[in-house]
Symmetry: C2
Subunit: 196 residues, 2 copies
Amino acid sequence: MSFDPLHDIPLLRGPVPLTHLVLRHFVRSGDSAVDATCGNGNDTLLLAELVGPTGRVWAFDIQQEAMESTARNLAANGLPDRVTLVAQGHETLAGQVNTPLNAVVFNLGYLPGGDRGIITRPETTGAALEQALGLLAPGGIVALTVYPGHGGGDAERRLAEGWAAKLHAPLFHAWRMGQINVTADAPYVILVQKGA
Amino acid sequence: MSFDPLHDIPLLRGPVPLTHLVLRHFVRSGDSAVDATCGNGNDTLLLAELVGPTGRVWAFDIQQEAMESTARNLAANGLPDRVTLVAQGHETLAGQVNTPLNAVVFNLGYLPGGDRGIITRPETTGAALEQALGLLAPGGIVALTVYPGHGGGDAERRLAEGWAAKLHAPLFHAWRMGQINVTADAPYVILVQKGA
């Protein structure tokens, strides 16, 4: 999964490759990063590779299934040592982490392949986003993927866009990045960077 | 201006650093690229660096002032040999270039610091965008910056978004990337990638 800039042309089929492209630009060896919703652990794995042996990743999820899936994913790639798995909601972020963060990743909604009744909640996500902002290092980013196409999707969308739109520029650079030749309920990315 | 991924954290203050981040991901040594509106030559210069000594860049502009500024910029960086300057409108693209393109960059509107009465026109820009699509290599991109805040800005916006929204997915991945904590007339990026 390591990145060879001479041969690997990522296809921007959706939020996942876009977010990964952005993370590859902003997360460096020795960095500290958080996966606020680790799900199946794909973002956690990328972050663990990017921060290298001297960096640190914290991965949060409330579902045991997600924790186990992420742990397996990291073990299969020989990277469990640089990741702290936190089996709690991301609203406990500031209680768990007190180092400046270079990147924080959120994927809202439900666990892919898991119980669709268990979704991220605006109250806890909102608290976690504020804590993430407070922990960002200069130049650090929050990459948030919104999935409007499920039951709680409208509330998520309002939360995410309302939060980002209110951030003061240029203290924070806040972007909305969405595909415009797909259906209106397609997932999209909110990217916020702390100014330097 | 060369890019050191270990030390250079780009700040996403607006469309220019975002477009440059994307170009650094998608343009490789040996590639072919077009700057459809070379203006002061900053995008041309980045493309010339990225394609390397075995690649090729074509840079279009209808204004003599832009041609001269770009030529000076390239000469100052020792890179004029890999760039073909074309003192014609970008609607002549397909007549000038017949090689698959990895990237095509457009900046709509007027020349920064130049005559604001001379702007890109929807008819010629629309023709150039279609020609660019036809020339894209698999995985190749069109990066288009729209500046809604000038006299012709509304027409540009309609052209750019209408064009991108009609492209068939997944033959093309079409994105709109704009800041959401700035004024509504702030410039933004339309990014289109040809599927592989």
